[in-house]
C-alpha cells in the first residue's frame, strides 16, 4: 500500500502530540477505538467557556499511519474553531484532505468520533458544574 504525501508528512511530523489535564473542567477528552481492533485515538480539546473557542488540541494515537495522520489533522483543524464549527467537521473532509484509500476510511470515522466524544465530555462536565 502506498500512502499519500500528506499522510506521510503527518506521520513524520505529527502536530500537537501530547496530553491535557483530563480533570480540568475546560478540557474535553475523547478516547475511541479498541486495542483489539488495532486503533485507539485519544483526542483532547481545551475550550474557552466564554467564547466557546477551542484554544488547544492534543492527541495520542495507537494505530496505522492513516490513523495517526487523521487525528493529527483533526487537532490542526480544531484549534481556533468554535465548538459549533468543530461539530461540522466530517470524516469525508479528512478522507479528502489526506486522500485516504477505501480500506482506511475507518480511520477518518474514528477521528470524527473522537472529536464528537471530546466535545460531549466537555459539555457533560459543564452541565455537572
Amino acid at each position: 500500500m502506498s500512502y499519500s504525501p500528506k499522510v506521510i508528512d503527518h506521520y513524520d511530523n505529527p502536530r500537537n502530540i501530547g496530553s491535557l489535564d483530563k480533570a480540568d473542567p475546560a478540557v474535553g477528552t475523547g478516547i475511541v477505538g479498541a486495542p483489539e481492533c488495532g486503533d485507539v485515538m485519544k483526542l483532547q480539546i481545551k475550550i474557552n467557556n466564554l467564547t466557546q473557542v477551542i484554544e488547544d488540541a492534543k492527541f495520542k494515537t495507537f494505530g496505522c499511519g492513516s490513523a495517526i495522520a487523521s487525528s493529527s489533522l483533526a487537532t490542526e483543524w480544531l484549534k481556533g474553531k468554535t465548538v459549533e464549527e468543530a461539530m461540522k467537521i466530517k470524516n469525508t473532509d479528512i478522507v479528502q484532505e489526506l486522500s485516504l484509500p477505501p480500506i482506511k476510511i475507518h480511520c477518518s470515522v474514528l477521528a470524527e468520533d473522537a472529536i464528537r466524544s471530546a466535545i460531549a465530555d466537555y459539555q457533560n462536565k459543564q452541565e455537572r458544574k
Binding site: E36, C37, G38, V40, F59, F62, C64
Partner: protein, 155 residues
C-alpha cells in the same frame, strides 16, 4: 539436480548457522533495549531466519512505516495487505491486541551484520517514538491495565 543437491549439502548447514547468528543478534538488541516486547513462536525450535516480535502499544503498520528501507511484514505472509492481524499468531495463542503489534523479520543468507545493526537501530528508535504518541503506553505507565478498560466505541 545432482549438482544442486551437492551444493545444498555443502552449504546448507554453514549458511543456516550464519543466518541464525544474525537473527540472534537482532533479537538480542531489541530485547535488551526495549521493554514490553514479546517473542512470538518457540524460543529455540523455530526457523533460524525467522524473528517475530510483538512491540506492545505500537501498531505494526505504523512501525513498518517508520522503518523505511527495511522490508518486513506486520501480518503472517498470508494476511499481507489485509488489516486483520495474523491468524497464525492467533493460533499460537497471541492475544488480539498483541497480534496487532507484531512484526515478522525474515533474514536471508545475503544479509550482513551492518544491515542487522541498522535494522535494530531503526526499530528501537521508531518504537520509542511511537510509544511517546501511544495512548495505550501512557495508560500502562499510569498503571491502567488496558485489558480492564471498557472499550465502548469499537470499529
Amino acid at each position: 539436480m545432482g549438482k544442486a543437491c551437492e551444493l545444498a549439502q555443502d552449504e546448507m548447514h554453514r549458511e543456516n548457522l550464519k543466518v541464525k547468528e544474525l537473527r540472534d543478534r537482532l533479537e538480542k538488541r531489541i530485547f535488551a533495549e526495549l521493554d514490553e516486547v514479546h517473542l512470538n513462536g518457540h524460543p529455540t525450535e523455530r526457523l533460524s531466519n525467522n524473528l517475530n516480535v510483538s512491540f506492545a502499544f505500537v501498531e505494526g503498520e505504523s512501525l513498518m512505516m517508520g522503518i523505511k528501507n527495511i522490508a518486513v511484514s506486520s501480518g503472517s505472509a498470508c494476511t499481507t495487505a489485509s488489516l486483520e492481524p495474523s491468524y497464525v499468531l492467533r493460533a499460537l495463542g497471541v492475544t488480539e491486541d498483541l497480534a496487532h503489534t507484531s512484526i515478522r523479520f525474515g533474514l536471508g543468507r545475503f544479509n550482513t551484520v551492518e544491515e542487522v545493526d541498522y535494522t535494530a537501530d531503526q526499530v528501537i528508535n521508531t518504537v520509542k517514538r511511537l510509544r511517546e504518541m501511544s495512548p495505550l503506553y501512557e495508560m500502562a505507565k499510569e498503571g491502567i491495565d488496558i485489558k480492564t478498560v471498557n472499550w465502548a466505541n469499537q470499529h
